[in-house]
Amino acid sequence: MTDAPKRTPLYDLHVELGGKMVDFAGWEMPVQYPMGIMGEHKQCREKAALFDVSHMGQVILRGDNVGEKLETLCPQAFAGLKEGKARYGFFTNDDGGIMDDLIVSNAGDHYFVVVNAALRHQDIPHMQANLDGVDVTEIFDRALVAVQGPKAEDVVGALCPAARELKFMETTVADIGGAECRISRLGYTGEDGYEISIPEADAIRVSKLFLAHDDCEPAGLGARDSLRLEAGLCLYGNDIDQATSPVEASLTWAIQKRRKEEGGFPGAARIQKELAEGPSRKLVGIKPEGRAPARQGVEVQSQGGDTLGAITSGSFGPTVGGPVAMGYVSAGHAEPGTKVNLIIRGKAQPAEITALPFVTQNYKR
């Protein structure tokens, strides 16, 4: 690895659009554009926003029985994943902690996997070492762009009718403006939308076609973070990590029934035990009652002053119109409605445990 931050195929476009560039996981990425984080957030909730997510790792898996083999690394049922379908999953370690989260798509003659930017250097060797007979190849010649929001279907569908036919968590290959793109109806904002893998040479041109639509504006990492937090979606490194189990992280929905019963994935002993008996701590939504945001690391206490856990993600939720947070609390205090205190700059601020997400998810099922 070199020290100089890397640039995505869309770098010149970010600069042209006035993006404020910051170093993120070794990549020079736009944190916001002139519209600002609040405006970009609202744009995505109300119309459509375009995000550059090219810093994430795009990986092609080729071989026989790739789905079955992935099941030795992940608790998801990838063996039964139908062609054209995508599924959220995670790698677990032998202690039942989460190594990274990922999206796996069955693309027919191969599997297409997207992993987090900061962890591609861990995930790819992990797959190469453990997926016998599978060719694991990271691709570097494609951008990845997310178009998210209630108008995303209009924005993408205007250029690519096939996009309208996709349902949530479906993927296909189609032409957009003369470029062969992989289009998947998914994303990480809580809104309907697409993630689109575009050949590097066409990335700026195709992105500009999306942005030419009246309802589509660019959005940066700042809005991406506030959107995913309001949507109750975990950010790797904040809300989930090598020590947290998927049961603690309230991700049991992402472990299919067969795998819960059969096990056979790294850390199954802990995960099955927590499934049966309940975890000792749990990731929950936390709504501060005042206006002060509770940031990562803020202690959560019971009203009696006992330490219950800590905030893992916290910010201001532009759609909620107030501060929102996620964090771990001991299981006995995880029920929505439980009153807690957040220790912000030494002072106890009242807050309430809430169900996640903070906003209604608007996926096209």
């Binding site: 600002g36 984080i37 700042g222 506030s226 002060a292 945001p293 910010s315 201001f316 700059r345």
Partner: protein, 121 residues
């Protein structure tokens, strides 16, 4: 009436031993959209360099530091309901405190507008 600037990007407009304090437009631009301001109360005394409040933007929390010794005389309470005013008018309506100076000679350590402009480039 004269206006001084600190290296921590505050402005202070002085009239006798009374002064108005706020953050500069440059600071507001760097912070991004302000969503919460934690202020001290009238009567609180502070020392030069001490933390006298916190400004939370969508992105992060930033402390406000006292540019000199003094006492809070009045708090701009409008900021509690409309913290975004700090982005719109940081050197106008969105002042943060009226203060009483303890030692006017400390003003000599602060910058004038030209000095501040040179600092922020």
């Amino acid at each position: 009436m004269a206006t001084y600037y600190s290296e921590d990007h505050e402005w202070i407009t002085v009239e006798g031993d009374m002064a108005t304090l706020g953050i500069t437009q440059h600071a507001a631009d760097q912070l991004g959209e302000v969503v919460f301001v934690e202020q001290r109360e009238a009567g609180d005394e502070f020392e030069k360099g001490g933390e006298i409040g916190v400004i939370e933007s969508v992105k992060a929390a930033s402390e406000i530091y006292a540019p000199l010794d003094g006492e809070v005389v009045e708090v701009n309470e409008a900021l509690a309901d409309n913290p975004g005013a700090l982005n719109d008018s940081p050197e106008g309506d969105a002042w943060i405190y009226k203060i009483k100076l303890s030692d006017a000679s400390q003003l000599d350590d602060l910058m004038d507008l030209d000095g501040y402009k040179a600092l922020i480039g």
